[in-house]
Amino acid sequence: MQEMIVNRLRELLASGDYAGVIGWSKGETPFDRTPGLFTEKDLDRLCYDSFCGSNLSKYLIANAKDKKVIALLKPCDCYSFNQMCTEHRIQRENVYVIGVGCKGKIDGEKIRNGGIKGITGVSEEGDLLKIETLYGEKEISRKDVLLDKCLSCKGKEHKCADEVIGESEDTSVGNKYELVEKLDAMTPEERFEFWRGELSKCIRCNACRNACPACSCIKCVFDNPKSGVENKAAADDFEENLFHIIRAYHVAGRCTDCGECSRACPQGIPLHLLNRKIIKDINELYGDYQAGEEIGQRHPLTDFTFEDDEPSVVERRGGGK
């Protein structure tokens, strides 16, 4: 597929209409895939394979501002792209979207966490990953180390592609709200303890925010001394909560559930659960809604019906105790 993509890109770039391609290149470790802008001369560095898990759509804000570019987007990335077009953060006409086929992306962290150390090479053989390490060869099933976001895959359709290269697969497994429901079923004390434990790991590196395509503010309230809530480090437990509550709330209705927040988090905090809880609430209370389904949507928190539930519905619903 990489070859097909590169060949097509060569054709497109030859036209001179585009300043470059937003894509990935290989890096040092077997999992390193770094986003970049590629021109005709460095197309040979461009790489597209099972490790290109990151969502490139956000790079278009900076890179498609005053020039036309080509973007390689996976089916899930398209939702983010559409949402940013809706919010006028990306000008649709400046981007030629090539939908690239995706059969689920592999999470290097999961391989490492599975106890496989010193990895020097990985090769794919069907559903099997052969892993070379400093301590011998290992094998692992591909589906066991897919990125979490692939397990709640939104489907194989590219919602914004100008053309599609390669086949995609829906890699979703089971109920994507499973963890949310599990938490909902806990007592408030248990839930509190769960989040306290998770969020206490937060180092406020802002990776979740900076990777998030919905967090595309020119200046985040947490960086703006004039906002009154600016803070840089969690000097108190409260500030750990505050940052993540406000962040989840600010992307409410706009979050496409792309999973970048959890993927980017160096401490493995399941931040996407906060967003997913909101998505679940919105779907249940205000009707099914998928942010980024198409350009120009009005999201549920900028909308209402006369018959909406009262906030006291929170006290009645859910399996919570």
């Binding site: 802002n206 480090a233 980017a264």
Partner: protein
């Protein structure tokens, strides 16, 4: 004198230590291993090679109060925060992190000495641990660090079910003198086997030629920075997991009736507001901020510190950067190529 203790007895030792001083060790919490205060019910993970955050927090915490104010009318009361006065032990520090303390000393113990850091250094005993299984992201060898025999007040080795310890300083001696004597031979064997693996590490021969004060302007003006920085999100992950990054910010928190707390907290030169002033910033683009971080580690710091790099090759940035952009990219991209 080599000492030893069986793993079985380790909890007893830890309990003993923690009775008189704070004991910090790699502890697993919510699926991640980080240095934290050890208590009998914590999950000790001496086997974990890399904690997510480095060990620097033991001496330079992420958030630290420095002074407290109370204001009334036109008057101000100033109450400096107290420096640490109690001893503590940090156990299980790896060679790379142990070297980072020396680098931090160069900053915080330089004139004028930072009192908070100095107090922690004075009261802290560092027990290092040799790396039995280095990983592909490790490249400490490039900086003259020996993962088989780390420095510190005490050096420890894990061999099957026994922990061997060697005191390197008086502080270390005081900590482990209570243990029974151990043999040298198993440790020597272990060092040898570690040495073998270290040789095989894929990143163990980075070419650092040209990263020095003499080539400062050349490196600074290298056109490759822009492409290197293109994918950088401007988050602080690399900075905050890095054992040598020590930039900090000073902030005030108005706690109302409780006065105003001035604290310092880790900061990152990758953040867009790092050098922002009322009338502008001297590094307006992410490329410039990105460049600053690596120039500081690889060029400015050695220029000021006899060629000592501000990188210990721990490889945390390789593992944690969400977009896989890290110092090895920079070294390889900007450095002298083998075929040049």
């Amino acid at each position: 004198m080599m000492k030893k203790i069986s793993f079985q007895d380790l909890p007893r030792l830890f309990r003993e230590i923690s009775e008189t001083q704070t004991l910090i060790a790699p502890i697993e919490k919510c699926g991640q291993v980080n240095f934290g205060v050890w208590t009998p019910d914590s999950t000790l993970r001496l086997d974990a090679l890399k904690t997510v955050k480095s060990a620097k927090g033991a001496f330079f915490p992420q958030v630290e109060d420095i002074v407290h104010f109370r204001m009334k009318d036109k008057t101000i009361d100033i109450h400096p925060a107290e420096v640490l006065t109690e001893d503590f032990v940090i156990f299980g520090v790896r060679a790379c992190d142990a070297r980072s303390f020396e680098l931090l000393d160069r900053v915080f113990l330089a004139d004028p000495v930072d009192p908070f850091y100095a107090a922690r250094r004075k009261h802290g005993t560092v027990v290092t641990l040799a790396c039995n299984q280095p990983e592909e992201t490790c490249f400490c060898t490039n900086f003259g660090i020996d993962a088989a025999d780390p420095c510190g007040d005490v050096t420890a080795w894990m061999d099957r079910d026994t922990l061997y310890l060697r005191a390197n300083t008086e502080k270390g001696e005081a900590l482990i003198s209570r243990l029974e004597n151990g043999e040298e031979a198993p440790v020597e064997d272990l060092k040898k086997s570690i040495g073998e693996i270290l040789k095989k590490l894929p990143l163990n021969d980075l070419n650092l030629t040209g990263f020095d004060g003499d080539h400062l302007m050349e490196k600074f003006n290298d056109p490759k920075w822009e492409e290197l920085a293109r994918g950088c999100l401007g988050c602080g992950t690399c900075t905050f997991v890095c054992p040598t990054c020590q930039c900090y910010d000073v902030r005030d928190f108005d706690a109302g009736e409780n006065g105003i707390q001035r604290y310092r907290c880790w900061d990152s030169c990758m953040f867009s507001d790092f050098t922002l002033m009322a009338h502008g910033t001297n590094r307006p683009t992410q490329t410039e901020r990105f460049r600053q971080r690596f120039m500081h580690k690889l060029v400015y710091f050695p220029a000021k510190n006899e060629g000592l790099y501000s990188c210990v090759g721990c490889g945390r940035c390789l593992e944690k950067c969400p977009q896989s952009i890290h110092i090895v990219n920079v070294i390889k991209s900007l450095g002298v190529k083998e075929d040049d």
